[in-house]
Symmetry: C2
Subunit: 357 residues, 2 copies
């Protein structure tokens, strides 16, 4: 089943390829009768401008490269799914480039991911993509090696590049990013509003900018409420279910333990739920848990997770729109900020010692 | 940070590119002293033959196309992660092609996926990949349109193609596939062994070969034990958490209800767990649940899922090995069968009315 091309449509409609292209791209007026005939044929053949057809009609490949760090982390497929819906609507196809390698024991190896990013950037340039989206990896680093930033900056002179949910310091690259600090503030203010004073924070990686911003939101919300951040209740370096379970178990074993845990992603929160269950501690009656990201799994657990939605699909959609404008040579804002939203479900309640709880 | 190429290594080692290539590909003897110097430089620069380097030295692009239906279904990232580890070890990089589109409401649209597959197949040929892996989509259909099969068969004359966990009838394409029927038999025999006689089956799509094979395994295990399959306890057409919850709720509302549910994937089983929880029915004390696939989420739930591992990573690894052999012009078996494994966790127990339960 060879895909139908602009040539097939032109032949069957008895018009030139240029006319089909004009209808397709809306670049110049076409007689109504002719347009209707062409559109009817496109519908009949379920024609969709593919990379090849686009490159014939618009001198573009219609291909976008999407570089991400770890497709097994469910946050990224969500961003991708938003990107997908918009990119396809705009007529693009894309190649996914996953930069994390897996060893024989299925451990994810992060040590060579920046090198992998460079490798994929080179490949995508070689394959002449129209644009590149980058998320995670070096874009997540608070202080990346200047060479990593410079490489992307150089390529951005030749092809439109958009960074998602992060940045490369000292560059002027276009970005679409959720307000990570605000997200953390929303989560912690919700817990404080319920009456919690003893709030722990678990997860993240100290070297990552998203972790630093979420920590900053946590600290500012605590400070605004006159509450102390206890150093022994801030457990970082990890983003997995296993780490969440380990951190939460450690907190629940302390003599003085928190009544609420703010987890820097939903996988950690799922791990915390498991730790509470193993310790015989009821959620949310005896312990409140808030996640972050709002991945689909946030509603799979019993009870369902209260969490912060980063509007990951919106981030993906904006990425596609922005890239399309850049490809068309239009101006776009340097940073498009996405406002996160608190999603209250079943893992938060007043602490046990508060009247009315 | 431009990736280090064979040219850089050759220059620094003061040898020809051909010599570096010989060391790299082990195609001809190189003096030990020279080899040691080259290997030391490769290690120093963490050199890894990328697509470009490979194509210079071996007339290949080093690129594989991986076509899958839905990256947000966690089964596929697992297959991919096994594929990844082996493909990278063999020196390949790959492009992912996701064929399911998403609409504005984030519903996954399956209606145009076969067309998308054709589109991606065309693109991958255009980009001159060394090989193609296909999983899901048309490969899952019990009776695909002959055109869909013919298209892949034609392309397979020009580039090595491997089909995973499925087939295209009346073609001689190479396949790596889990024994789906055996997997279902293992699950149902486990339930029967615990004393269950009233076993329901939920999920799957009747037109898909994997569903037909799992249904066949279910029926044969029931028949072998002299147990009846009740039509009203076989609820198909769905693979999501939501569908699992809906099917299970319907079963739990029946006058005569099953003591065990065999779910055709883990997402359905997670939905069944939620339905049981909502109905106040204890798992596994009052109801046993078995999943299928063994995705990472199978251990996120409380209780953790008893399920059937399809060895998804092993399937991925075998796909990479097989494709590599085909690219090198070597013979490979037409079908490599992967033996599934029952993973007993916490959602299965004897039924409530059996002594000793």
């Amino acid at each position: 089943m060879r895909p139908v091309t602009v040539y097939d449509i032109a032949r069957e409609a008895n018009v030139s390829v240029a006319t089909v292209s004009r209808v397709l791209n809306n670049t110049a007026p076409v007689k109504k009768e002719t347009r209707d005939r062409i559109v009817a044929l496109m519908n009949k053949h379920q024609f969709q401008p593919n990379a090849l057809a686009r490159s014939l009609t618009r001198k573009e490949t219609g291909m976008i490269g999407f570089i991400l760090p770890d497709i097994t982390n469910p946050f990224f497929p969500e961003v991708l799914s938003g990107f997908d819906s918009e990119a396809r609507r705009l007529g693009y196809t894309y190649f996914l480039c996953d930069t994390i390698s897996t060893n024989e024991e299925n451990q994810r190896l992060y040590d060579r991911q920046y090198e992998r990013e460079s490798q994929y950037l080179g490949l995508l340039m070689e394959k002449q993509v129209d644009g590149i989206v980058m998320i995670g990896g070096r874009v997540d680093l608070a202080k990346p090696d200047p060479e990593l930033a410079r490489e992307v900056e150089e390529l951005a002179k030749r092809v439109p590049i958009v960074l998602l949910n992060g940045s490369l310091p000292k560059t002027k690259l276009n970005r679409v990013s959720a307000d990570q600090k605000l997200g953390a503030q929303l989560a912690v203010q919700h817990l404080i509003g319920l009456g919690h004073r003893d709030i722990a924070l678990i997860g993240g990686y100290a070297k990552m900018s998203n972790t630093q911003q979420r920590l900053s939101g946590f600290r500012s919300a605590m400070k605004d409420a006159g509450l102390a951040v206890r150093r022994e209740w801030t457990l970082t370096e990890g983003f997995s279910v296993e780490k969440g379970q380990e951190f939460a178990a450690r907190l629940l074993n302390m003599k003085r333990r928190p009544t609420a845990m703010f987890c820097l992603n939903d996988l950690l929160a799922i791990g915390a739920l498991k730790a509470a269950h193993r310790a015989g501690i009821a959620v949310p009656e005896e312990l409140s848990i808030v996640g972050y990201d709002d991945i689909p799994q946030a509603t799979y657990s019993i009870p369902e997770l209260t969490t912060v939605s980063l509007k990951s699909q919106e981030i993906g959609r904006q990425a596609a729109k922005t890239l399309d404008k850049m490809i068309a040579g239009k101006k776009v804002p340097a940073l498009q900020s996405i406002v996160p939203e608190l999603i209250v479900r079943e893992t938060t309640a007043p602490p046990p010692d508060v009247p009315g709880a």
